[in-house]
C-alpha cells in the first residue's frame, strides 16, 4: 500500500464461485452428447446434418438479431444449446431447411423479441418446434424405424403394447432424433443432477406425475386390475408412457431450463406436476399422441405467476410460500 500503488476498491464479496453462465451452458451441451450420439447412431448422418444446420441457424440468428437491436453479441453458449435441443426434438426425416427455419424462429421470436438471454418467457427450442409442427404438420410427422429407416408411426401413435419396453428404454424405436433413448438422456441428466446444474425435483415430479396418473388413466387402469397379471400390465403401460415420446428429453433438459421455469424449489415442483398433468391430459383426451412440448410451454406461461406466489419463508417471519408482500 505504498504511495502510487493502484488499489482496486470494489464491493464485497471479494471471492466468487467459479461457476459461470458459459460454464453452465457448456455443461448442458456436454450432457446432451449421449442423446445426440445415440440419435446419429440410430438415424444416420442426416440426423447429424439436421443438428448442425439447427445450431448454425440458431447462432447466426442470434448474431443478426442482436446486431439489429444494437446490442453486443456474446458467445454464451445459450444459442448453441437452443439449436441443439431443437434438432433433438425434430423427426430424423425433416428436410434441412426446417431446422434452419425453426431455429431462426425460436431464437428471433422466442428469445430475442423478449429481450434476449434471461428475458424470454417460453423455451426457445420448443417455440421453434411448435412453430414447425403447426406450420408443416405432415413433414413433422414422417417417422422412420432406426437403422433401416422404414416408414412407421411412433410408439405413442401406435399405442401401448406396440413395442417392447426395453426397446423404448434404450431408444430402438421411431421418434425424434434425440428423444428416443431414455437411457442416453438419463446418463446426461444424471450428470447434470450430480453437478447440481439442474434440480432433481423437476424430472422426478414431472415423469413421476405422468407415470402415476397413467396407473389410473391408461387402457389398463389399476382400478380395474383384478389379478397380478393385469397389475403387471398396468405397470408396463405406466412405464410405456414414461419412456415413450419426448418426456425424458423434456423433463431433464427443457423443464429444467432456468430462464423459463420457477426460481424456488417448491415452484419447480408445482411446475413439474402441472406439466405432468398436462401431458397425461393431452395424451389421453387431447388430439395429439404426444404433448410434452405443449405441456412445458403452457407451464412456462405460468412461471411468472408461480414466482409471484411461491416465496421462501423470510427469516424471523411466519410468512412463507403463499402471499408475501
Amino acid at each position: 500500500m505504498k504511495e502510487g500503488t493502484k488499489l482496486v476498491v470494489s464491493p464485497s464479496p471479494h471471492v466468487k464461485d467459479a461457476i459461470s453462465v458459459r460454464g453452465i451452458m457448456s455443461a448442458v451441451i456436454v450432457a446432451l452428447i449421449p442423446a445426440t450420439v445415440s440419435g446419429i447412431y440410430l438415424f444416420g448422418l442426416h440426423a447429424l446434418a439436421v443438428i448442425i444446420a439447427s445450431i448454425l441457424s440458431a447462432v447466426g440468428t442470434e448474431f443478426v438479431a442482436l446486431k439489429l437491436m444494437g446490442r453486443k453479441f456474446v458467445m454464451d453458449g445459450s444459442a448453441v444449446l437452443t439449436g441443439l435441443l431443437l434438432a433433438l426434438c425434430l423427426p430424423p426425416t425433416v428436410p434441412l431447411w426446417m431446422p434452419i427455419v425453426g431455429a431462426a424462429f425460436g431464437i428471433a421470436i422466442g428469445k430475442c423479441a423478449f429481450g434476449g438471454l434471461g428475458h424470454n418467457i417460453f423455451n426457445p427450442a420448443l417455440v421453434g418446434r411448435v412453430f414447425l409442427a403447426l406450420s408443416w404438420p405432415a413433414l413433422m410427422t414422417r417417422w422412420v424405424t432406426p437403422f433401416d429407416a422404414v416408414s412407421t408411426a411412433t410408439p405413442l401413435a401406435k399405442g401401448f403394447g406396440s413395442v417392447p419396453i426395453f426397446d423404448l428404454f434404450v431408444g430402438n424405436v421411431a421418434g425424434c432424433i434425440g428423444e428416443t433413448s431414455a437411457l442416453a438422456i438419463l446418463i446426461g441428466g444424471a450428470f447434470l443432477i450430480a453437478m447440481r446444474y439442474i434440480d432433481w425435483r423437476v424430472p422426478l415430479f414431472y415423469i413421476g406425475t405422468v407415470g402415476f396418473l397413467m396407473l389410473f388413466l391408461g387402457q389398463n387402469s389399476i382400478l380395474d386390475a383384478s389379478d397380478l397379471d393385469s397389475l403387471v400390465e398396468v405397470g408396463k403401460e405406466s412405464l410405456f408412457h414414461m419412456f415413450a415420446g419426448g418426456l425424458f428429453l423434456g423433463a431433464f433438459f427443457m423443464a429444467t431450463d432456468y430462464v423459463t421455469t420457477p426460481m424456488t424449489k417448491l415452484g419447480r415442483i408445482i411446475f413439474a406436476v402441472g406439466a405432468g398433468i398436462l401431458v397425461v391430459a393431452i395424451r389421453t383426451v387431447g388430439g395429439y399422441p404426444e404433448g410434452v412440448a405443449f405441456s412445458i410451454l403452457i407451464m412456462n406461461g405460468f412461471t411468472p405467476l408461480i414466482d409471484r406466489v411461491i416465496k421462501p419463508r423470510v427469516y424471523g417471519t411466519k410468512r412463507g410460500f403463499v402471499g408475501g408482500g
Partner: protein, 435 residues
C-alpha cells in the same frame, strides 16, 4: 455434540485458513498509532487531550456522554502529534488522534475487580470504562449489549467462535491459546445478564479450539461443534443453528432471550474486569498474498502497511487490501489503522483479483437457494434497477444481511450485494424524507 438445528441456505467457499496453526505473535511496537474517535457503533467520542500532550498506554484519551458509545484509550506511550479527520477501515472519515511513540511503552495500570464479589453495575462500569466493544467486526459497545432494556429476559448466552469467514483465524487462535480467559469472560457475561445457559458455538473445522474450550469449561458450559457453513457467525443465523430461535425482522437477539458475544470480546471482558486492562490491543490475522501470513497481537491504531511489512510484505503486485474477510470485508483505497473491530487484513495480488464480465440474469435460482434470510435477491435486484424501491420492501430488502452468498454463487457475476445496498439506502432516505 451437535445442536441438531441448522440455518437456511449458506455456502461452502474455499476456506484458505492459512494461519490456523500459527501461534499469535506480538507485533513490533509501532512508532505511531492513529486512533479514530469512533471505532464502534454509536456516537463519536470527544477528545480529552490536546495536541502536544504526553500520554501513557491505557490512558483514556476520548469519551462520550452518549449512552451508545465507547471510550478510546492510548495504545502506545508518547506524544499526541495531531488531531485531524482521517479515513477509517469502515470507509468513514472520522476525527482521529495521532500519537508518536516515545519507545518506552509506559502503562497507566488500572485495577481489576473480583467479578464474583462485584455487582452487575460495577462490572458493567468496568466494561464501559475500558472501552470494550464487540470484537467480531461490528464493534457494538459491549456494556450496552449486556444491559438489555427492562422486561427483556435473557436466558441464554452464546459465545461466538464460529469464525465462518474464509482466511480469518484470529478467533481460532485465541480459542486455542486463551481458552481459560475466554471462559472466565463468558462467566462474567452470564452473571451480568443473569442467564442460566452459556453455549460456546464453534464450527467443526476448528476441532482443536473445541477441545481446548471443553477442557477450559470443564463441563460447566456446553461447547457445540457446528457443521461448518458460511455465514454461521452472523448472530441471527448462529441463534437459529444453536437454539432454533429466530430474531424477528428489525429486532435484536434480546427479543428471543439471547445475547451473542464473540470469543475475542469475552476475553477482552475478562481482561477489563479482572485486571482492569483497557482494550488497547487485539489479534489480527494478516493473510492472503503476504510472504509470512500470521496472527499478530497488534496495538490498535497500527497502520495496515506496517503490519503487512511485518508479515514479509506482499507477494506480487498488491491489488486489493481488505479489512475483514473476503465475503464481507471492505476493500481499502488508502493506508488505514487497525481499529477495535479489525479482525483481519487480507491482501490480494493480481491473481486473486479477476474482473469478470457481467452477464444477464439467467434466473437459475442459486441466489434464492443460498440466501440465509429467505430472500429473493434476483427479484430485489430487478426492482432496484427499475427504481421500484417500494416494491423492494415487499420483498423484505431490509432483512438483507449483506452476507454476500448471493453474489458469491451468481453465475452471471451480478454484484447483487452492491445493488441491494443501493436499494436499502434509497429506501432509507425515502423514509427520512417522508418523516
Amino acid at each position: 455434540m451437535l445442536s441438531g438445528f441448522k440455518f437456511r441456505g449458506g455456502i461452502h467457499p474455499d476456506y484458505f485458513k492459512l494461519t490456523a496453526g500459527s501461534r499469535v505473535r506480538r507485533a513490533d511496537l509501532p512508532k505511531e498509532v492513529i486512533l479514530p474517535l469512533r471505532q464502534h457503533v454509536g456516537a463519536v467520542c470527544e477528545s480529552l487531550i490536546e495536541e502536544g500532550e504526553r500520554v501513557k498506554v491505557g490512558q483514556k484519551i476520548a469519551d462520550s456522554e452518549s449512552p451508545v458509545s465507547s471510550p478510546i484509550h492510548a495504545t502506545i506511550s508518547g506524544t499526541v502529534a495531531e488531531i485531524s479527520v482521517r479515513s477509517t477501515p469502515t470507509g468513514e472519515r472520522v476525527r482521529s488522534i495521532r500519537i508518536e511513540s516515545d519507545g518506552r511503552d509506559r502503562w497507566l495500570k488500572g485495577k481489576g475487580i473480583d467479578p464474583e464479589k462485584s455487582s452487575r453495575e460495577e462490572i458493567l462500569a468496568k466494561i464501559r470504562e475500558n472501552g470494550i466493544v464487540g470484537l467480531g467486526g461490528a464493534a457494538f459497545p459491549t456494556h450496552v449489549k449486556l444491559n438489555p432494556p427492562e422486561g427483556k429476559r435473557v436466558d441464554t448466552v452464546i459465545i461466538n467462535g464460529a469464525e465462518c469467514e474464509p482466511y480469518i483465524t484470529a478467533d481460532h487462535r485465541l480459542m486455542v491459546e486463551e481458552s481459560r480467559r475466554i471462559v472466565r469472560g463468558a462467566k462474567i457475561i452470564a452473571k451480568v445478564l443473569g442467564a442460566e445457559r452459556v453455549i460456546f458455538a464453534v464450527e467443526d473445522n476448528k476441532p482443536d479450539a473445541v477441545e481446548r474450550l471443553r477442557k477450559a469449561t470443564s463441563g460447566d458450559f456446553e461447547v457445540l461443534a457446528l457443521k461448518t457453513k458460511y455465514p454461521q457467525g452472523d448472530e441471527r443465523h448462529l441463534i437459529k443453528a444453536v437454539l432454533n430461535r429466530e430474531v424477528p425482522p428489525g429486532g435484536l437477539p434480546f427479543d428471543v432471550g439471547v445475547v451473542v458475544q464473540n470469543v475475542g470480546t469475552a476475553k477482552a471482558i475478562c481482561d477489563a474486569v479482572c485486571d482492569g486492562i483497557p482494550l488497547v490491543e487485539r489479534v489480527v490475522t494478516v493473510t492472503g498474498d503476504v510472504r509470512k501470513p500470521g496472527n499478530l497481537l497488534v496495538r490498535i491504531g497500527t497502520l495496515f502497511s506496517n503490519l503487512i511489512e511485518q508479515c514479509g510484505g506482499p507477494v506480487g503486485a498488491v491489488r486489493k487490501v481488505i479489512s475483514g474477510g473476503p465475503m464481507m470485508g471492505i476493500a481499502q483505497s488508502e493506508d488505514v489503522p487497525v481499529i477495535k473491530g479489525t479482525n483481519c487484513i487480507l491482501v490480494f495480488s493480481e491473481r486473486r483479483v479477476v474482473e469478470e464480465e457481467e452477464m444477464p440474469c439467467i434466473r437459475c435460482g442459486r441466489c434464492v437457494d443460498v440466501c440465509p434470510m429467505g430472500l429473493m435477491p434476483f427479484m430485489i435486484r430487478a426492482l432496484v434497477e427499475k427504481g421500484k424501491f417500494d416494491a423492494c420492501s415487499e420483498y423484505d430488502i431490509m432483512s438483507c444481511d449483506e452476507c454476500g452468498c448471493c453474489a458469491y454463487v451468481c453465475p452471471a457475476k451480478i454484484p447483487l450485494v452492491q445493488i441491494i445496498k443501493r436499494g436499502k439506502m434509497a429506501l432509507a432516505s425515502a423514509k427520512e424524507v417522508g418523516r
